[in-house]
Amino acid sequence: MLKLTKAGLCRLKFNKIYHICNFAVIFFILLNLYSDWTSYSKITNFPVSTFSRHLFDGINRIVISAATFISLYLGADYKNGTLRNKLAIGHNRVSVYVSNFIVCFIALVLTLILSTATVFAFGKLFMPPEFFPVVSEIIPRVLVCIPIMAAIAGINVLLAMLINSASISAAAAILASFIMICFSMVIHTDLLQPEYVTKAELEELTPTTYYTGEETDDIDEIVENPYYITGTKRKIYSFLDKIMPSSQILTMSDKPTNKDMGNIALLDMASVIVICAAGCMIFRRKDLK
């Protein structure tokens, strides 16, 4: 397995798709930072919360990049017949699967380091020192992203190894990641809604729905927030918010407690073990043609 991992890492070093994906992640992070920086700097100083948001928004982009890279990288194994070569020279299917997972996980951790370093470098260069966030606060949250990256790698490796066609696995993985990101943004925002708001805040929340064109004097009156979720829907949303990797990354940008971070790390490690075990079991019986 060590040989397979080494070979995989060597291939990764020269993989153009991986470098393009990394470049795209960095490009979008810088684009966002720059556009926010230019608009904020005109009004006031760059707020610390924006720094944290950008860091984890950037990390969330790795989800799409991972889906693209892993499906193409592992799909090439099927397409070129290298998978059969690996099996023909005596490697067993479990070691092939696990080595692929390890290589993809390492690739994602490298991307995570790269994107974090980019945001930090931008912060160090352009942000006033008093607004630069406390590193000791941010680093543990970034470290929790490592098990999240493992979970993302686990899901994408499972898809790529179980679907023979690289194009179908790429389509499935990218669309699933995109839907997961959109869905997690929706449920995360919905869960953060306060139960009660003032009328002014309500109008601010939903200008298109709640603006009636009439002047109201009692804008400070506290009313129930119609967007606050209750009952079974809240339970389902909370559960999905806890288990989806992109939601976990969003949670990291909201100053989570140590307990939350620990829970996320443990949950991800457990899910990686379950996903890999299931993947190995199915892959062992798979007809590779």
């Binding site: 194009s167 389509a171 995109f178 298109t208």
Partner: protein, 266 residues
């Protein structure tokens, strides 16, 4: 070209991806109706826009369907057979485009039928006028034409099916994000303008800085147009939308034909 179209239709109807796409497009309105009914009962009139739910999702379904369907020609080398049989590259491109467009229309039809099947028994008849529904659906066809032309262009230019899938999905995602962002910006802006105008006296002026790019994207990008159509009434700028859509469809098709004629098919 008729032979090619016939053969492509036969291939399309047998395609598993096409069947899955139809199932997805039929599921969306069904889910919307049932979720709406479970949450609010039949007290709402929002169900009127059920035909338009597919417009948002078709932007993702068409790229996947068209790239996998047309990309198969490259991976199976049937494209060389077509050329060897004497068909011109122009007729191959156009027949692929026509069949893909018809596939997109069938997907939208699946959405309409499913919407009717689930909404009519639960909510009775729709209260919106029939001519409005037809006009919106015709505008929807323009969106389908843009998505089909763009995806056919990508698929015919990129020889590798997997890369074509990735590029077309990424393009669809970019268009979706740009369109949603522009739609949100312009809608909020219109609301704010209405608010300021209501508060301003006759002597006050209501000058606001505008992001012109957002307004351009709002009218030209299909995903933003889909949001406009989902508002439920025929938009005021419908002529502009049709014009922009026809322009983009023609541009992508001409560019595609031009590049495809010179393409080295290995």
């Amino acid at each position: 070209m008729i032979n090619l179209i016939n053969a492509n239709f036969a291939k399309l109807f047998k395609s598993a991806v096409f069947k899955v796409s139809i199932a997805i497009m039929a599921f969306i309105p069904a889910f919307t109706v049932l979720a709406n009914y479970a949450a609010r009962g039949n007290k709402t009139t929002n169900i009127n826009g059920i035909f338009n739910t597919g417009h948002m999702f078709i932007g993702f379904v068409i790229p996947v369907l068209v790239t996998l369907f047309l990309g198969q020609d490259y991976s199976d080398n049937t494209i060389r057979n077509k050329l060897a049989a004497g068909h011109t590259r122009l007729s191959i491109y156009l027949s692929d485009l026509i069949v893909s467009f018809c596939g997109g229309v069938i997907l939208q039809l699946a959405c309409i039928i499913s919407g009717c099947v689930f909404a009519l028994p639960l909510y009775g008849k729709f209260s919106e006028p029939l001519d409005e529904i037809i006009k919106i659906q015709l505008l929807g066809l323009c969106l389908i034409a843009v998505y089909t032309a763009l995806t056919t262009f990508i698929t015919m230019i990129i020889t590798n099916k997997t890369y074509a899938v990735v590029v077309s999905i990424m393009t669809a995602m970019t268009l979706f994000m740009a369109g949603m962002g522009a739609y949100q910006y312009v809608t909020e802006r219109k609301m704010l303008e209405a608010k300021i105008t209501a508060k301003a006296t006759d002597t006050q002026t209501t000058e606001m800085n505008e992001n012109k790019l957002a307004y351009i994207i709002y009218e030209t990008v299909p995903s933003s147009q889909a949001c406009i159509l989902s508002e439920g009434s025929v938009p005021k700028n419908s002529i502009k939308i049709v014009g922009y859509d026809m322009l983009s469809t023609t541009t992508f098709t001409l560019l595609g034909i031009l590049l495809y004629r010179k393409k080295d098919i290995k």
